[in-house]
Amino acid sequence: MEKSSQAIFSSNPSPKTPIIRVENIVKRFPGAVALEDVSVEFYEGTIHAILGENGSGKSTLVKIMTGIYTPDQGAIFYKGRKVTIENPIKALSLGISMVSQSPVLIDRLTVAENLMLGLKQLGIFASPKSVLKLFEEIMEKIGIRVDPEEDVWKLTYTQKQLVEIARALMLGSKVIILDEALTYLPLEERRKFYRYLIEFKSKGGLTILITHKIPEAFEVSDKITVLRRGKHVGTVKTSETNVDTIREMMFAERAKEITLERLMDGVPGETVLEIRDLWVKNDFGTYALRGISLDVKRGEVLGLAGIVGNGQVELAQALMGLRNVERGSIIVYANGRSYVKPATKTLREIGVGYIPDQPLSHGVSIDYGLRENIAVMPGYTGPVINWGRLTKLAREFIEDLMIVTPSAKTPLKYLSGGNLMKSLVARELDLAKSALVAYNPTRGLDEVTSIKVRRIIKEKVVNNKIGVLLISEDLDEIFQVSDRIAVINEGKIVGLFDAKSARREEVEKLMVM
């Protein structure tokens, strides 16, 4: 390791010097033990990945390290000294910051104003000029150009994530935790950022990378810790292991179910969903969709690839009658007739399923169990609810998708994020008799469950002849499931391919051009 004049922890950073040690951490939630006696050491000047399937405890562990949760038992040591991290401010004061998958910037403020807020909270009252100067220095290092006077809502997802990362660096972070923060960045942007992580590492900084994507861990990490069902399975050097070994550590005997090979081909039939010259505005009054035209056919999956923030949310909402259409038409063909710009209720009644981008806020009620979340959907009950039948149906969903829950009545808030997502997917797949609009249906799910969900979707397409519009930022998913691939960029369709012959590099290029 090179000696650096800007060393973070010690003048001679060494990957043998432990910075954070979590010892015998236990964390319980109702009905589940999230972490059971977990002990891990994190060293200076390393990029340390934590991998695990859904509900393995990886997010819980880093939330304990950043003060969002307090452990029920165990201790945290920072530079050899026992510390209590009772809230995020304490974590930040120790130099531990976290960037998660969803940027937490305030849309209506400018980039500069967001940055000031963060510094003020920590009691750092720097002048606006010095803040902006530091921001520009860091942006240059990361290799991205963002106008600090720009309103945040105008930024792309990539830019927002990078502003978040820059903020972490401006706060003088010594430990940066990236909780799925890079997963949905395009490869090119991710690689630019990796260069910075390596420089941060050379100065002795510690990066903890949480991901469920094994290849991402192999791209940049020095060490990998695997958690499974709340227990520490092992910590290995990345250079001394391989993808298959890590998969086995994560999933044990289920590892052999993982594959990224294309699923079975759909056989396209007649059109089920027709979109013509669609113009839709976003929440800020500007056009998110600019004349989109697409057809989805029964028996096929049309994958829509694109970086988040290019109109995908608005498209999904407009299709489901949840957002106004300024111009253009949406026609759904079902039950032998056509429905022009159908209302949400009609869409649900004719069997159009919807997996929204924000499952927690738009897809489920976490205060109630799976059976209530089924019952609220049209078509599952009359004016009087037959709970016996719905409970039985809920149990079928639980079994089919291996949802970990004490019962069909257990409020969804007690389930892990992955199991909550599985509950939503199960319901919408069952509801979809004509078509399914799915936005990131496997977001947050581990590889085994993701494959299972994708397989179930494709089987439904092939066997039941429904049409699926799959909107996803995960190109692995797009290529695995789709029969055709469209690319969206700045609200327009910029490419349409047959999935079998499409080249990934070409699709990626169209996504970022």
């Binding site: 939630f29 209590t84 869409l347 709970w387």
Partner: protein
């Protein structure tokens, strides 16, 4: 180093702890307030005896208990929908007024047999309360007005409207001696009180039926489920195709309708005429009902328990007046409000303990 950490609970506290503690501490606070503000004339034992008297004499508090139970159930319905119906008073009194108006201006009710006239009166009370609640519901659902100040203000609209209507000269409902009240309802509409108690069979039956009905609606109908989901996640309702404004309007209307029935029970079973000013005629069942609903933690089975306790506190004010020495201390029945206010305040403070815990970390 010792640190005090305040963390959000991940495991909920057993829900009955908050109302029980709120009651105990609230009563304790009331005792202290009364002791000091009356120059030590109201002793702690006086207060405890008065509350105990209420708790152990169900026949005395029964009528208030039943009315508060209905109001509590009705408010639980709207509160579960995330809609804070503070307009129980207005819905209660508008229903009572509607019966008075119908009885003295049309033969619709009085021309029927006693049984039918009582049933029609209840149905009319429901419709009147429903309409008053629906008005608030439409403004809340379709215009976006916050229902808390809206329903509260509608109480005052109801109070002053009824006060004005009662005193209109030359109207058939005016008291024949010119007192500030309406004529009494005909005997055929009045309930027969069970000897030795303050209630009638009709009141008991209606309370049971309403409790059962509200439970059925909330737990076994799609309407009830959509109301509950409205209180949990309106976006889910929207993406399931329901009209969120309509759901909000219906929840407030239904809540108002059932409270309207409580108004009829009061008129037919407790006092057969409306006295003005309406606002001060009672201690405000619409407001007491809110305390009942909160103390029940929105659990329907706990509503009667909470109603019983609140009725006892309500009655304690009257009992305290009768205890020797307290009249010299200037205690009036309004001391009830000291009990209610203290318990409500403690509840509001203690509800945080059900969400957060304090840990001492070494």
């Amino acid at each position: 180093m010792v640190s005090i950490v305040v963390v959000r609970r991940v495991k909920p506290v057993p829900y009955f702890i908050v109302p029980i503690l709120a009651l105990l501490i609230g009563i304790g606070v009331s005792i202290v307030i009364l002791f000091f503000l009356t120059g030590y004339m109201v002793q702690p034992m006086d207060v405890l005896v008065s509350i105990w008297t209420g708790l152990t004499q169900p026949n005395v508090i029964a009528n208030i208990f039943l009315i508060l139970t209905i109001v509590g159930f009705s408010l639980a319905m709207s509160f579960k929908g995330g809609l804070y119906n503070i307009g129980g008073e207005g819905q209660f009194w508008m229903a009572a007024w509607m019966i008075v108006w119908l009885v003295f201006t049309t033969p619709i009710i009085v021309s029927q047999t006693p049984l039918v006239s009582k049933l029609v009166a209840l149905a009319t009370g429901f419709v009147a309360g429903f309409a008053w609640g629906l008005l608030a519901g439409i403004l809340r659902g379709y215009v976006g007005v916050d229902e808390v100040p809206l329903t509260l203000m509608m109480n005052y609209v109801a109070y002053y409207l009824i006060d004005w209507l009662v005193m209109l000269p030359g109207r058939p409902w005016r008291d024949i001696y010119g007192y500030a009240k309406t004529r009494s309802l005909p005997q055929t509409l009045q309930y027969s009180i069970i000897p030795g108690t303050t209630v009638s069979v009709e009141m008991i039956l209606v309370t049971i039926v309403i409790g059962f009905l509200i439970w059925l609606i909330l737990d076994f109908t799609r309407l009830g489920l959509t109301i509950k989901i409205h209180g949990s996640n309106v976006n889910l309702l929207r993406s399931a195709g329901y009209s969120v404004p309509l759901t909000a309007a219906l929840a407030l209307a239904l809540s108002g309708g059932f409270i309207g029935i409580a108004g009829i029970l009061y008129l037919c079973g407790v006092t057969p005429s409306i006295r003005i000013p309406v606002e001060t005629t009672t201690s405000g069942f619409g407001y007491l009902g809110i305390l009942v609903t909160w103390l029940s933690m929105l659990e329907l089975f706990a509503v009667p328990i909470a109603a019983y306790v609140v009725s006892s506190l309500y009655n304690a004010g009257f009992t305290l007046m009768a205890i020797k020495g307290t009249q010299q201390a200037g205690v009036t029945a309004g001391v009830t409000n000291v009990f209610m206010g203290s318990v409500l305040l403690m509840y509001a403070l203690l509800i945080t303990i059900s969400e957060y815990e304090i840990r001492i970390v070494w």
